[in-house]
Subunit: 423 residues, 2 copies
């Protein structure tokens, strides 16, 4: 499919480039042209879309999620973290099959599309059925190993690393483990050895809660970041999810190793984990991306909520309304995600890049007047403004309709699965 | 218009009543019937709506806003509070006419409808043009006096109190002033005398920032609440907007006087003001309502954002994921608002009450599966789920369309006004 978008405002997210009026052409999965209005010449299009002055921009990258947990949404809220996890979440998860996770991931994929999310960084139980769900949904998915003492294994991570990095253009896979506190030292050493062998980055939940950091200090005399770095886990970089309780030495490791922080403000708020020191990360030049975390802990998969929280919580933490400019947050949600997820061809709108694009409806009251469109996006934007979501040149969501999926069937399946799992 | 909604899930918000399947009939501006499916008998309808299992519930009450500030949205963000107010907001406001505020209030009213807001508690500069805008939009509007050293006056507040409480069924007016720190003692004493004469409650911005409270203690040796109470301002009750920095004595005054706290978590976050002690208010049985505050300080007029923040920030403040149950927050956003705004006929869905009703689309991925619909509303709900907004029996918003207004004209006018004011 070759598509021409015309009469559009365009925010390429290239450094220093402001919004301009123009058009954008796609050819198959890539962007062919971005610039001022232009004669088509010999170029033919399968579809031409009048954008009516609305805004084209790169899709949002959801840099940390557990898609298959949609089934657990609103199953158990307003509980202390340990009770929530041990009494409510784990027993239900223990009964989940790979097929369940296939269907529940599809439900999450629909929700991502409504929020303009064009790529996800997913960590969950059954990598192969997650991969199938994303290919079937048309969702770009970077998976990450979730090995811990109770599920998956280093050989499985290695197998998935080989398999899912070569299976389909929408898919990739990164080395990873659940968290320091759920892995034995042997497991961590084995994974660090694999990382060195593959010369690959490693990703994990890191310093989400104060008690997690205290536990690691008791076990190893160091913070999680410092301990993991000491065993060579981050010799080829990687990243951390949450990163709420980081000290300057942790930050220095992330900076020196060119690692990414993936912040999850919605989840950290709902689970009362704390506020991550985003201002400090940005000041040090550490790449920051944004993730929703899973739908059991957030509970919604909405990058607009996360963007507002990323700036708002930084302002509260610093007691300074000028902290964490909206522009910085918009960069985290797009370019920062592409860096963290190693998807360099999805970062900005430019000829040759992948056509992972969203169209934002400015003809809604929350985006008016047009004093500053970028600030409107972060401070007053909503998923209701997402008029189109395109991944790899395919329009998957348009004017509130899902193009590829029968949503009612996906909902019915999810309700059927959770009824069985709760029984 | 008599309308029949059938095949609906219904959340009446009556104490202890769970969601049930049934139907709801309206007759003119009121609710005629709420209950299980029922034969129409001799009752005739102008319209019958198949709700397809979606959820009918009372509309949200936005219990604190400055609607006319839509023009200032995203005009000046990421600035310290005093610079924002003195250098950016005040100079533009100084040029605003009553007609400007009429049009800018209409823009806000459109946004309220998209978020399921059926009544607003508005404080701004030109009460009569605000009243006209709300009548023309079909929005239920309680206005409150905004007297301070620079604009309005006690006689004007008295005049508006008489006039706007008798002008139109959608309108009412409460005594109020901007804030202790913007009013001379004489002004406050005059208003307290008026409150006693009218036996009326009084509302004001109260203890929004730490420096505001410190200033009052310096001036009067008491907190704003204690000082205002000491001069008889709250002899007939009333309420406070923000209430971030309250001590136990302030809370005791609010409790004893049956006053309402209107919390504004979005604004308090974006302006880095702090986190209100909601858990403490609820524990004492103080009525709590929720407001968006104005679009210059939030910047969006979305009760879903506010509900998530009301519970989320309480969880962060208490360092307890179990703090501030979602159910409590849903009550604040509906029933709590009705109490604060003295609109007792808008609180729940029951025969005889006003037909201020919204229809929530559950057939969207963020509301699935249906483990717990109320928790879905607070934790994963979005304005994109608002399928219909009805005020006084009139459907004003349906399936993304505005029934009464030409939205494009409202947007164009708002852009024209702000271009002139910025010049």
């Amino acid at each position: 499919m070759n598509i021409r978008f015309y009469n559009a405002r365009i925010l390429t997210m290239e450094e220093g480039k402001d919004i301009f009026l123009g058009e954008l052409w796609t050819q198959d999965e890539k962007i062919l042209y971005v610039g001022p209005a232009k004669e088509a010449g010999e170029q033919t299009f399968d579809r031409e879309i009048d954008c009516n002055g609305n805004l084209l921009m790169p899709g949002f990258k959801n840099a940390h999620t557990h898609s298959g947990m949609t089934g657990l949404r609103s199953l158990a809220d307003d509980l202390p973290l340990s009770e929530w996890l041990n009494k409510q979440i784990f027993p239900v998860e223990a009964k989940m099959t790979g097929e369940d996770i296939y269907h529940l991931t599809k439900l999450a994929n629909l929700e991502y599309l409504t929020s303009g999310i064009t790529a996800i960084f997913d960590m969950y139980l059954t990598p192969e059925t997650i991969a199938d769900a994303c290919v079937d949904s048309g969702m770009r998915c970077v998976q990450v190993g979730a090995v811990n003492n109770f599920s998956q294994s280093v050989p499985l991570v290695e197998e998935m690393y080989e398999k899912l990095n070569h299976k389909h253009p929408l898919l990739s896979y990164e080395l990873g483990f659940h968290a320091e506190y759920t892995c034995s030292k042997k497991l961590l050493l084995d994974l660090a050895a694999l990382a060195k062998e593959k010369k690959a980055p490693v990703y994990t939940h890191n310093s989400e809660t104060a008690s997690e950091v205290a536990g690691c200090r008791e076990r190893y005399g160091m913070s999680p970041t410092q301990f993991l770095d000491s065993i060579g886990m981050f010799d080829y970089g990687g990243g951390g999810y949450h990163c709420v309780y980081f000290d300057p030495q942790d930050m220095e490791i992330f900076r020196a190793r060119h690692m990414s922080v993936v912040t999850n403000p919605g989840s950290n708020t709902k689970l009362a984990s704390g506020i991550a020191p985003l201002t400090e990360f940005v000041k040090r030049g550490i790449n920051v991306a944004i993730g929703t975390d899973g739908p059991a802990s957030n509970n919604c998969l909405d990058m607009f909520r996360e963007m507002f929280l990323a700036t708002g919580l930084a302002k509260l933490k610093e007691e300074n309304a000028a902290a964490m400019d909206a522009m910085e947050v918009l960069k985290m949600a797009t370019v920062g995600g592409s860096i963290a997820m190693r998807l360099p061809d999805t970062d900005v709108l430019r000829a040759g890049k992948l056509a992972d694009i969203i169209l934002i409806d400015l003809h809604q009251p929350n985006m008016q007047p047009l004093n500053n469109i970028q600030k409107n996006l972060v401070y007053s934007g909503s998923k209701s403004n997402v008029k189109m979501t395109m991944i790899a040149g395919n329009i998957l969501y348009y004017n509130g309709e899902f193009v590829k999926e029968d949503a009612e069937k996906v909902y019915a399946k999810a309700n059927e699965i959770i009824a069985r799992l709760k029984a």
